[in-house]
Symmetry: C2
DNA sequence: CGGTGGTGACAATACAGATTGTCACTTCCC
DNA sequence: GGGAAGTGACAATCTGTATTGTCACCACCG
C-alpha cells in the first residue's frame, strides 16, 4: 500500500498544500471567467492567473468543466449560507427585503463572481445546466422560505419566476456597471416580490 | 467594374439563390443549436444540416457568431411582431394575458427556437450579450406597452425583472419538457405580471 | 551530505474546428 | 457545341487548446 508520505514542505503538509493550490485555482478561475467568459477561458489562462502550472490543474480537477461546477457551487453555497445567516436575525416580514439587499450587495462587492456566474454560465453543457437548475431552486427555496415540494405547481413556477426576476434585475444592473443605487434595485425587485410574500405568508400560516 | 452577372441557374437568379441558401443555413442553425447548443455547433454541422458546403456559409456570414446573432434577431423579430398583432385585436386589460398565452404557446410550438434562444445563448461573447440586452428591452417594451425611456428608473427595472420572470418560467417549463399545462404557466406568470399591469395602466392614464 | 519527494518550466502529442483552396462536374448562355 | 459561371466534395492549412510527459533544480529528512 502506498501510504501518503505527508512530508512537510515550506511548513505545510501535503494535503494542506494541495488544498491551497486548489483554492488558488478556484479563485483564479473566478477572475478569468469573469474577464473572458468561461467559453474563452483556457486551462492555461487559469493556471497562469493562479501562478501554477497545468500539472496542478489536473491534480485537482479532471477537466475544465468540473472546475466550473466546483467554483459555481462553492460560490452558491457561500452566498446561500450567508443570506440564511442574515435572515435568521430578522423578523419574517423583513425577510425578502433582507435577502434582496444582501444579495445585491454581495454581487456589487464581488463583481467578478457576479459576472462569472450570472452572465457567463448558461449553455455550457448538460451538467452545468442541471447544476443551474438546482441553484435556481435552491435560491427559490430561500426566498419563499420553504421546500419547493410543498408548493402547488403554480406557486412553484411563481417562485421560479421570482428568482428569474431578481436575477435579471441583477444582470441588468451588472451590465450597466452597477450604476443604479442599490436601494432602487432592491425596491424594484421587492415590488415583484410582493407576490412571493403572499406565498410565503400562506405557508407560514399553514 | 465587376458587374454582377446575374446568370440564371435552375430557374433562379443569383441573388435569389443566395438568399435561399442563407435561409437554409439559418433554419439549419436553429435546429443544430437547439440540439447541441451553440457552443458545440460547428460550422460544418450547420452546413451538413442545411445540405450545403462551408463555402456557402462564408458567402452569407463572416463567422459563426454573426450567424447566431442573425438567427436570434430574426427569431425575435418574428416573435415580437406576431405578439404585437395578437395584442392589437384585444382589449388593453387582456393585453398581458394575451402576450403570455401566445408567447408560451409559440415556445411550445417551436421548441427548437425555445431551446436555441433561451437556453443556449448567454455568455457567448460581448456582442451576443449586448444583443440579448436589446432583446430583453424590446420584450419589456412590448409587455408594458411603452418605450422604456418613458419609465422611471425603478419601473424600468421592474419591467426588466418581469421579463426575467417570464423567461425563467419558460426555461423551467422547457427543462421539464413542457409538462405543465400552458394555462398554469400563464397563470403563474400573470401573478407576477400584476405589478406590470400597474405600470402599464399608469402609463395609459398619463 | 545524499537521496527522494516536490516543484516549475516547458516540450511533445493529440485533436478539433475555422477558413481557404483545389478540382472535376453541371448547367447555362451564345 | 463550347466556354464560363455555378456547384459539391473534399483536401490543405492554420490555429488553439487539452492533456501528458520530460528534465533540471530545490527543500526536506535522516
Amino acid at each position: 500500500m502506498a501510504q501518503t508520505t505527508e512530508r512537510r514542505w515550506r511548513g505545510r503538509g501535503a494535503d494542506e498544500r494541495k488544498a491551497e493550490r486548489r483554492a488558488l485555482l478556484m479563485a483564479a478561475a473566478v477572475k478569468v471567467y469573469s474577464e473572458r467568459g468561461f467559453r474563452h477561458s483556457s486551462v492555461k489562462a487559469v493556471c497562469d492567473e493562479a501562478g501554477l502550472t497545468e500539472r496542478y490543474f489536473y491534480e485537482s480537477f479532471t477537466n475544465s468543466e468540473e472546475m466550473l461546477v466546483a467554483v459555481a457551487s462553492a460560490s452558491l453555497e457561500q452566498m446561500v449560507s450567508e443570506l440564511q445567516a442574515k435572515c435568521a436575525a430578522v423578523s419574517p416580514d423583513k425577510r425578502l427585503q433582507t435577502i434582496l439587499f444582501h444579495y445585491y450587495g454581495m454581487l456589487r462587492e464581488q463583481p467578478a463572481h457576479a459576472r462569472a456566474f450570472l452572465v457567463e454560465i448558461r449553455g455550457i453543457s448538460p451538467i452545468v445546466d442541471a447544476y443551474l437548475e438546482t441553484a435556481t431552486e435552491r435560491f427559490a427555496e430561500l426566498v419563499v422560505n420553504s421546500p419547493l415540494s410543498r408548493l402547488s405547481r403554480t406557486d412553484r413556477m411563481v417562485a421560479i419566476g421570482a428568482v428569474g426576476a431578481i436575477v435579471h434585475i441583477a444582470l441588468d444592473w451588472i451590465l450597466n456597471d452597477f450604476s443604479a443605487p442599490i436601494d432602487d434595485v432592491v425596491q424594484a425587485a421587492e415590488k415583484l416580490g410582493t407576490i412571493i410574500d403572499g406565498i410565503e405568508k400562506a405557508i407560514r400560516v399553514a
